[in-house]
Symmetry: C2
Subunit: 424 residues, 2 copies
C-alpha cells in the first residue's frame, strides 16, 4: 500500500458505472418485454441469463423448510440476535406525525405514513448475504410497510442459498421470488401475473440491476445506486498497526474496485501499517481480489496536522470511516461526510456489517456528501396537512390573491376569494 | 366536467414523460459538452436555446437593485410575510442527531449534517414564480446548507423576471446564474469555471431539465421528477359547489395536462359542481388551458359510500387533496397517499401555494405513494455512529466472526479477531 503525502493526493472518486450504450439498450428492452409479457418474459430471461427454466419462480414452503433444516441451530440463534439488534436500532429512527396550532384556529402539520409495498433485491452467487436480507427488510418492517417482496436470482440448480431463505423466514417474509437482473426490477416496478407492483425497490446488484433501477426511477422509488465498498481509517499514534491493517483489508477483500485508505499524522504508523498490510495480504484467502484493490484504490495518506487529516476525510466522504485516536468523540463533531462512523479501537468495521444494529447499506463513492444509510425514513413518506381557519383566511385572502395575480394565475386568486361571501 | 360512477373509473395515472430517444441523446451530448468545455459550452447553448449571448451569466448587484426598485413596496412586504411563514413551518421539520447508550459502554447513534451545496432550478418564461424560489431555497437554508446556487433561463432580452430576483434577495441568496435547460443542470452537477459543483439539484423544469436531472442522478442527488399539477377534492353535502369548482379550476389553469377530480358521495353536489365548473370556465383568463385540462384529465367521481370515496383518493394519491366535509379530521386518519392535505372549507388549495407555510413542491402523478413534499430532510443526510466497547466486542466477537465466515469473508472475521490480543 503506497504512502502518499497530502499534497500529492490523487482523487479517489471513481466514475459511476453508467453502463455501455449496449447495456442500457438491453436493459430498456428487457423492461419493455416484462411490461408487455409479464411472467412469460421473466421466465424466458431467467432461462437465458441464469441458465435455469423455472415453472414457478416463487419459493415454496418446502424450500424454506429445507433451507431451515440444513442450517446449524446455533448459527440460527446468532442470526436472530443480529436481527434483534438491527430492529432495535432502526426502531429509534421512527419519526412521528406532528401538528402545530395557532390561536386563530389554524392547524399546520405533517402526517407520516409508510409506503404500501417494498421490493428488495438480494444479489445471487458469492454475494448472497443473509446480512443484506436483514439490512434491507428490517427498516421497511419497522416503518410499517405491509407488503414486502424479495427477489434473488437462482443458481444454475434453481436454488437460493439457505442463509438467504433462513434470514427471510426469521423476518417472517414469505413472498420470495427466484428472479434476478433487469427482469426482476421490471417485475417489481410494473408487476406481472404473479407479482404485484411495489412502490420502492432497494438492494444492490450488478450493472444491469443498477441500470434497470435507474430506468424505472420515477414510476417507483429506488434507493441509491451502490458502488464498490470503501473504508477510510483516521488514526493517530495510539492505533495498533495490526488492527488497522486488518480493517483495511476487510474492505479490500470485497471487490477489486473497493477502496481502503488510511489517513494519519503519524509517519511511524504509516510505515508499520504498510508492512502489516503486505504480510496479512499474503495470508488472506481472497488475496488476489484484495491485492488488486489495495494497489489500485488503496493508499496511506500522511498529513501534517489533524485538521488536515479531517479535511481529507470530508473530501473523500467514505462509506465506512473508522476514527481510532485519542478522544475520537472530539473529532466526530468535525466530520461532515461519511456513511457510518466507527469510533475507537473496538469498533472494527465488520461489527457494523452484521451485528451492532445500524444499517450496512451505505452511500459509496463520495455520495455520503448527499445521501444516508438505508433507514426507516426510506420507507415512509410525509403529507403536509393544512387546516386554515376562517379567521386566518379572512386576514390573508387579499395577500394570497395578490400573490396569485402577480404569478398570472387568476383562477388561484378567485379560488381563495370565493370564500369571501362566507363573511359578508 | 364528466360525472363518472366509481365502477367506471378510468385510471388517472399519466405515464411519466421519459422523453424521446432524440431528446435523451441531445441531453447526454449537452451534458458531455458542458463537462468538457465548461462556461464556453454553457454560453453557446444559452445562445442556441435561449436566443441570447451573455458575456457573463452571473446576475449582477445592479440587476438585483433594478428588480428591487421596480417592485411595489407593499408587495415586497407580502413576499416577506410569506417567506417568514414558510421558514417557520420548515423549522419544525428539523430532526436532531441522537445517541443511545448501553450499560456495557457501547454507544450507537445517528448524526445529522446538511449537504454542503444545493442548486435550485427556477423555470423561466410564464412559469417563473417567486413562490418557487421560496419553496426550494428555504428548506435548504433551514437545513443549514452553506452554499445555495440558483439558476434560471434568461428571456430573449437577457433578463430574469423581477419577482424571481427580489425573492432571491429576500432570502439573501446572491449566487444567481442566467442559465437554463440541460446545460444548467450539467453546470450545477459537474461545475464550470464560474460555478462550483453542488451536491443536490432541485426544482421543476421542462422535459430537457427533467431528463438531465435523471442523467446526473447518482453523481449528485436530485428531487423527484415533477409532472403536471393535480387536485382531488373529497367532499360531502356540506361543501359549497362554487368554492369546489373554483378550487378545481385553480389547478386546471396550470397546464392542459393538469388533473382535477372531485370525489363525492353526493349526487346533488356532483351536478352543481359540474354546472359551476362550466360557468366559471367561461370567465377564466386561461380558459383554453383549463378547459383542455378539465376535458382530458378532469372528472367527478360519484361513490356509494364515504369509505369507497377514501379508497378512490388513496388509489389516485393526488398531489393536492382537499377534504371538505363534516369532521374532516376523522377522514384524515384514513388517508394514506397525498402530497398535501387541505382540511375544511377555508383551506383552499392556493393558501398552500403561497402563504400558509408548507411546501408547494409536491409529488405528482401518483408518486405520493412513495414520496414526500420537498422538505428540510431533503437537504440533510445521516451518518450512523458506532462506538463499540471492549466488553461488547469481547462478548460478540465470535458471533461476528462466524457470521463473516458464513458469508465467505475471512478478512472480515480476522479484522474483529485482531482485537482479541487486547484481552488475552
Amino acid at each position: 500500500m503506497k504512502i502518499i503525502n497530502k499534497a500529492d493526493r490523487p482523487s479517489l472518486r471513481r466514475s459511476v458505472d453508467q453502463g455501455t450504450v449496449e447495456q442500457r439498450k438491453s436493459v430498456q428492452s428487457i423492461i419493455q418485454e416484462v411490461k408487455e409479457n409479464g411472467d412469460e418474459a421473466v421466465r424466458r430471461f431467467t432461462e437465458q441469463f441464469d441458465g435455469v427454466l423455472l415453472e414457478s419462480p416463487r419459493v415454496t414452503k418446502e424450500e424454506f423448510d429445507e433451507a431451515y433444516d440444513s442450517m446449524d441451530g446455533e448459527f440460527i440463534t446468532i442470526l436472530e440476535e443480529a436481527a434483534a439488534n438491527i430492529r432495535s436500532f432502526h426502531e429509534k429512527q421512527l419519526p412521528t406525525s406532528w401538528f402545530d396550532t395557532s390561536s386563530d384556529g389554524t392547524m399546520l402539520g405533517q402526517k407520516i405514513t409508510p409506503i404500501d409495498a417494498a421490493g428488495v433485491y438480494v444479489p445471487g452467487g458469492t454475494a448472497a448475504y443473509p446480512s443484506s436480507v436483514f439490512m434491507n427488510i428490517i427498516p421497511a418492517q419497522v416503518a410499517g410497510v405491509e407488503r414486502i417482496v424479495m427477489v434473488t436470482p437462482p443458481g444454475e440448480d434453481g436454488k437460493v442459498p439457505a442463509g438467504v431463505l433462513v434470514s427471510a423466514r426469521i423476518l417472517g417474509v414469505s413472498d420470495v421470488f427466484k428472479i434476478g437482473g433487469a427482469q426482476a426490477v421490471a417485475a417489481l416496478a410494473y408487476g406481472t401475473e404473479s407479482i404485484s407492483p411495489v412502490d420502492k425497490i432497494t438492494g444492490p446488484g450488478n450493472v444491469y440491476v443498477a441500470l434497470a433501477k435507474r430506468e424505472v426511477f420515477g414510476d417507483v422509488d429506488i434507493d441509491m445506486i451502490a458502488g464498490p465498498s470503501e473504508i477510510a481509517v483516521l488514526a493517530d499514534d495510539t492505533a495498533r498497526p495490526r488492527e488497522i491493517a486488518s480493517d483495511l483489508l476487510s474492505q479490500a477483500e470485497h471487490d477489486a474496485r473497493s477502496s481502503s485508505v488510511l489517513v494519519t499524522t503519524s509517519e511511524h504508523l504509516a510505515e508499520q501499517v504498510q508492512e502489516e498490510v503486505e504480510s496479512q495480504l499474503q495470508q488472506l484467502p481472497r488475496e488476489r481480489i484484495a491485492r488488486q484493490s489495495v494497489e489500485d484504490y488503496g493508499m496511506i495518506l500522511l498529513c501534517d496536522t489533524w485538521q488536515e487529516a479531517i479535511d481529507a476525510i470530508n473530501e473523500i466522504a467514505p462509506e465506512h470511516l473508522e476514527v481510532i485516536c485519542e478522544g475520537p468523540f472530539q473529532s466526530l463533531a468535525k466530520i461532515k461526510h461519511a456513511g457510518a462512523i466507527f469510533l475507537g479501537p473496538y469498533s472494527s468495521e465488520p461489527v457494523g456489517d452484521y451485528f451492532a444494529g445500524p444499517n450496512h447499506v451505505l452511500p459509496t463513492n463520495g455520495t455520503a456528501r448527499f445521501s444516508s444509510p438505508l433507514n426507516v425514513d426510506d420507507f415512509l413518506k410525509k403529507s403536509s396537512v393544512i387546516s386554515y381557519s376562517g379567521e386566518a383566511l379572512q386576514q390573508n385572502v387579499d395577500k394570497i390573491a395578490r400573490f396569485a395575480r402577480l404569478e398570472g394565475l387568476e383562477g388561484h386568486a378567485r379560488a381563495v376569494e370565493s370564500r369571501k361571501e362566507r363573511w359578508t
